[in-house]
Symmetry: C2
Subunit: 215 residues, 2 copies
């Protein structure tokens, strides 16, 4: 490890993370990574056994930051002096307020880039992603079940997953349209939807018209 603040390994990871998020993993060459990191082939393969090993390190670091972000947000809303429903809404609002800053920092999510490549998933390189998602589900599901005392009406796990789904979907939508404001808008929509659900959870079972659809 070098003496200054950013080690060569960290510089490589930083450059690789940006490139992989922007261009995808397969489209990112290690030559380009080391050029952006002002490093060399020797340094790269000293720190990483292979390109796939880089992907694994990338996912590990990203997932760890993701979980830290989650824990911080949960601790924050748990410290608020509001009712359980207010905690859930404050939780979503936290990310809604941070959305523009997030989108200016990164154009998409690393998870999308690596999950797109099946061999990375099959080789276990992306194994750290699922526990991170589960952590989001578990924490938000707990907040939700505290705010939705009526059991059985709503699948709080699936509802909790919907925040992750909104994040990832908004990243895709932003990519497709070039409009980074979609993240904030979609989180706002989610908060509006949750507001009405939490106000009358007993109405959660949707009526079913006799619709039939054959594509």
């Amino acid at each position: 490890m070098s003496r200054d603040g950013s080690s060569t390994r960290e510089r490589i990871l930083d450059a690789a993370e940006r490139l992989v998020i922007d261009n995808g993993f397969a489209a990112t060459s290690v030559d380009r990574v080391i050029a952006d990191a002002s490093s060399s082939k020797g340094a790269f393969f000293h720190h990483f056994q292979s390109k796939n090993d880089l992907a694994k390190a990338l996912v590990e670091r990203y997932a760890a930051a993701d979980r830290a972000h989650l824990d911080e947000a949960v601790a924050h809303v748990r410290a608020l002096d509001v009712d359980p429903a207010g905690r859930v809404l404050a939780f979503v609002e936290l990310f809604e307020r941070g959305a523009d800053e997030l989108m200016s920092a990164q154009s998409s999510c690393l998870y999308v880039s690596v999950l797109t490549e099946r061999d990375l998933v099959n080789s276990g390189t992306t194994a750290d992603i699922e526990p991170a998602i589960t952590a989001w589900r578990d924490q938000l599901s707990r907040l939700l079940s505290e705010a939705l005392p009526e059991e059985g009406t709503v699948d709080t796990d699936a509802l909790a997953d919907h925040l992750f789904v909104t994040f990832e979907g908004a990243f895709i939508l932003s990519r497709a349209t070039g409009d980074k404001a979609h993240m904030r808008r979609q989180l706002h929509v989610l908060r509006q939807l949750l507001t009405s659900l939490l106000a009358r959870p007993h109405a959660a079972s949707a009526r079913a018209p006799k619709a039939r659809f054959n594509p």
Copy 2:
């Protein structure tokens, strides 16, 4: 064009679509595509000027099918004898019911695979995606505004985008967890949320606790 039902060009597109959705565009070689399509280099470059040209044709075909699917669904719910809110819910329910079949046919969305590669986006290869998304937004936004007479309370465009966001996000979640049932579950969650919103649209403006968050 050959005489049997599936032309060589279509066989190449079929094979390429599956490979690109599964492995990503950069990770899909034309050698692999022609092998899966039982074709040859000569045939490939006779039908497509370049690999990027294949991507463009792939997106065009996929987006056209996407829009046809949308139009069919809209026509279906517009023919139902239900109130405007019932149409919206029937619309979502249509895709909820088709979710398992969809997920068994394809493991992800082509849009995700091609949007991940920035050079495809920058070169205009993915230009057909945005109009397709806009079509979804416009159609669903109209259904929503008919069901939400109070103007100004809800951004129906953003709310309409949330269906697309749910689709794409659920694809990502399924990839990450290996559980294809997430698509159906997430569409069900969306329908529950819309049910409560449509039942009391006047409560849509979320209260704002004094939360502040510095990541």
